[in-house]
């Protein structure tokens, strides 16, 4: 607090200091802003120059493809229910890939998180090792593992499932270990005092505390993984993405199928987002009485 009884000289100095501070802050702010704008502009120009088609020509054509697809789908609207039914198994496969990889990732991520949290790890000396493992799992884009596994195992849902599960394990491992650090260690110590082994301590002492948070994060991951599994299908891992690529490569005349797949994918993502958002809300704030 400023001493109010101080003289006018002191007040003037304070005001001077304050204006200098504000001015410096403003100068820094504007330098940063100019730098940022310059970076964005230069980046955009570089990207534009290295692209096959330029932005100036392309933006008028953005709506060409969607309108073509929609026009064709509209012309054959009667076929839509049949197409939807036809692609439903592929959609279920995509959902299964997402769900299975989320579950496997959840189990592996829980393990990684417990092993890399102080006070809970089974081997405290190996905490840095497990941290690095989950960092590396998180850093690998799914497509890298998926493409390599497709080469060895052949196309199909399993490469996609493994690829997404590895990334999910890393991502959830990090989020979970942050949750773990806020958990109380007292139940663990209590269980240890009555002779519980490590898995009992974790299952009875830690999991009940962190469970809701874990499930909330896993649901968020499930939403992300549906998108990921659709994309991986596009590079040959089965599911709705694979059907989409086929429908698109047939080109004109089959756009009604592409439209049906777009529709299925869109509705699925929106519905799952809504349900999982609602569930996460309930987990975070408790059941509204």
């Amino acid at each position: 607090m400023t001493d109010l009884t101080a003289g006018a000289a002191r007040l003037a100095r304070i005001r001077e200091d304050y204006t200098a501070l504000t001015r410096r802050k403003r100068v820094y702010g504007s330098i940063l802003l100019i730098l940022f704008v310059a970076l964005m502009a230069a980046g955009f120009r570089t990207a534009d120059a290295r692209n096959a088609g330029s932005f100036a020509d392309g933006w008028r054509r953005i709506l060409d493809y969607p309108s073509e697809v929609l026009a064709e789908a509209w012309a054959e609207i009667g076929q839509l229910p049949a197409h939807l039914a036809h692609f439903l198994p592929a959609l279920i496969e995509t959902l299964n890939i997402a769900a299975a990889s989320t579950l496997i990732g959840l189990i592996a991520g829980t393990f990684l998180a417990l092993m890399s949290t102080r006070g809970m790890a089974l081997w405290p000396a190996l905490i840095p090792l497990f941290r690095r493992i989950s960092d590396i799992c998180r850093a690998i884009p799914e497509i890298v593992i998926a493409l390599v596994l497709i080469f060895v195992l052949g196309g199909g849902p399993v490469p996609a499932m493994i690829a997404i599960a590895i990334h999910t394990a890393g991502a959830l491992g990090k989020l979970f270990s942050e949750v773990n650090e806020n958990a109380s260690l007292k139940p663990v110590e209590g269980l240890q005092s009555v002779g519980a082994n490590w898995s009992q301590r974790m299952y009875l002492g830690v999991i009940p505390q962190v469970g809701p948070n874990y499930v909330s994060y896993a649901l968020l991951r499930f939403e992300i993984n549906i998108r990921a599994s659709a994309i991986l299908g596009f590079v040959g891992a089965g599911g709705i993405g694979y059907e989409l690529r086929n429908a698109m490569s047939w080109g004109q005349g089959r756009y009604d199928e592409a439209a049906a797949i777009f529709l299925l994918l869109f509705v699925t993502i929106v519905v799952v987002d809504q349900i999982s958002g609602h569930l996460r809300d309930r987990l975070a704030h408790g059941v509204k009485a």
């Binding site: 940022f36 970076l39 964005m40 980046g43 955009f44 570089t46 990207a47 534009d48 290295r50 692209n51 096959a52 088609g53 330029s54 392309g58 054509r61 953005i62 060409d64 493809y65 969607p66 299964n96 769900a99 299975a100 579950l103 496997i104 941290r131 960092d135 590396i136 998180r138 850093a139 690998i140 884009p141 799914e142 497509i143 890298v144 493409l147 390599v148 080469f151 060895v152 195992l153 052949g154 199909g156 849902p157 399993v158 499932m161 650090e181 806020n182 998108r227 659709a230 994309i231 596009f234 590079v235 993405g241 989409l244 698109m248 777009f262 994918l265 869109f266 993502i269 929106v270 987002d273």
Partner: protein, 455 residues
């Protein structure tokens, strides 16, 4: 939490507790059982048992061995008698005329020393291979009679494959193939060949110390040029590809932030009194988010063609939806008092937003932007693989050719390093900027602030 009525008798309480226990037990065993049943269903639905038979383990072995080793081909054209040496059998890796590795001796009889007593001789008419512990295999290729092979007496071992027109011998030291038209020896080496300099560069085969001495004596530019334009590993193209990928993530994320911020105001209850506009804006965000990045990529690739701009725009559009949702939620939670405080000093509307609202949401805004910057680096790799651009394109190309697995391994390592670097960078920036806002400065011992220090 369940609460117990206090006026219950002991028996009733016991019953209640028993019921609670039964429910917990059901949950504790039922949930894992459900998960297990689902995974078993997946196991059969995805045909995991059939996968084992369908898998090509040969591909897997090639992939693994090729990713850390390379082979040098010594080939003799049987018609002309010319012997050529090329790394991986590629034109770019061919030894120039008159230059051979020291384990190949040219002459009337070319001698290829595979070490450990394994020696292959390309004679005038006959190819000989001395195999220690087995004997000498002779093969005489002939235009009309195919390949006539003479093996030591006894049964033909499994690692020798003889037919009328072809002889193939695979040993630990290398591999010899003789056909009517040519004889070829592969010798395997560990490591990535020609990673620094190709054979036509004067710096090939020099040690690091030597190269550094040459660089110090003024050849630095030439050394860098030879490395940068390495035709085998294409360091220049790879660096550009990495840069393109990061550029996609950067432009997409920040562009989305710039587009989403003003729109987010329209989607909030407290800043936008028009219900219909609010509702429409929220549905727009939902729509943009629901039409996945995959579909945006497909649509945009039609308009702009392959390249980094397409990827950047796909990320921009998808994330506009996500940011719009997150920012509007943050805006709905701003404290009115701060805005009123600014208003009470006579601030006009822009000033109220600038000093009353923006400082409150900056931490959320920045941390989300930086978090997405990291995750979009990964997305940009994937989008690049679909549209064609950046490191994702190089990776898919290398995988599709199915022979440059050392390049695939190199790209994977680069991608992982790139993502980890972006992760570290965004974490560092987040720490700097958000602490700079003065929130954490008040609580330097904040457990959350310490947590971010972990990578």
């Amino acid at each position: 939490m369940s609460s117990f009525a206090t006026d219950l008798s002991t028996d009733a309480l016991k019953l209640e507790a028993g019921r609670l226990f039964a429910r917990k037990r059901l949950l504790n065993f039922g949930l894992p059982a459900l998960v297990l049943i689902y995974l078993i269903y997946i196991f059969f639905a995805f045909d995991v048992p059939g996968l084992y038979d369908g898998a090509s383990w040969k591909n897997g072995r090639t992939l693994v061995s090729d990713s850390y080793s390379y082979k040098t081909h010594v080939t003799r054209d049987n018609r002309s008698g010319v012997v050529s040496v090329a790394i991986e059998g590629e034109r770019m890796g061919a030894y120039p005329e008159g230059m051979t590795p020291d384990w190949v001796a040219l002459g009337d009889t070319a001698v290829v020393d595979l070490e450990g007593g394994h020696v292959v001789r390309f004679g005038a008419g006959t190819v000989e291979y001395d195999i220690p512990g087995y004997g000498t295999v002779r093969a005489t290729p002939n235009r009309s009679a195919g390949v006539q092979a003479e093996l030591p007496p006894g049964a033909v071992p499994a690692w020798i494959n003889v037919s009328k027109n072809r002889l193939a011998i695979t040993t630990d030291a290398g591999r010899l193939t003789v056909t009517r038209n040519r004889a070829e020896v592969f010798r395997y080496f560990a490591g990535w060949e020609l990673f620094w300099f190709t054979l036509d560069s004067p710096y090939h085969g020099k040690s690091l110390l030597e190269v550094m001495r040459l660089a110090a004596s003024g050849e630095g530019g030439a050394i860098w040029r030879d490395f940068w334009n390495n035709a085998m590993w294409r360091h220049k193209d790879v660096a550009w590809a990495i840069f393109e990928t990061i550029l996609m993530a950067f432009l997409g994320t920040l562009g989305a932030g710039i587009v989403a911020l003003p729109l987010a105001f329209l989607a909030t209850r407290n800043f936008n009194p028009f219900r219909s506009v609010r509702f429409a804006m929220r549905r727009v965000f939902d729509f943009v988010r629901g039409v996945d990045a995959l579909i945006w990529t497909v649509v945009l690739a039609r308009a702009f063609g392959p390249g980094p701009l397409t990827g950047a725009l796909a990320i921009l559009i998808t994330d506009t939806g996500t940011f719009g949702k997150i920012f509007s939620e943050a805006l709905e939670n701003v404290d009115r008092k701060q805005i009123e405080g600014v208003q009470s000093t006579g601030a006009n509307a822009p000033q109220r937003y600038r000093f009353g609202v923006i400082p409150q949401i900056t931490p959320v805004l920045l941390s989300q932007l930086l978090y997405f910057l990291e995750s979009n680096t990964r997305s940009a790799t994937i989008i690049g693989a679909i549209t064609g651009g950046g490191i994702g394109l190089l990776l898919t190309q290398a995988i599709i050719t199915q022979k440059d697995w050392e390049e695939v391994a190199y790209y994977i390592v680069l991608i992982i390093l790139m993502v980890m670097l972006m992760d570290w960078f965004s974490g560092w920036l987040r720490r700097r900027l958000i602490r700079g806002e003065g929130r954490a400065r008040r609580r330097p011992r904040d457990p959350k602030a310490r947590r971010f220090l972990l990578p």
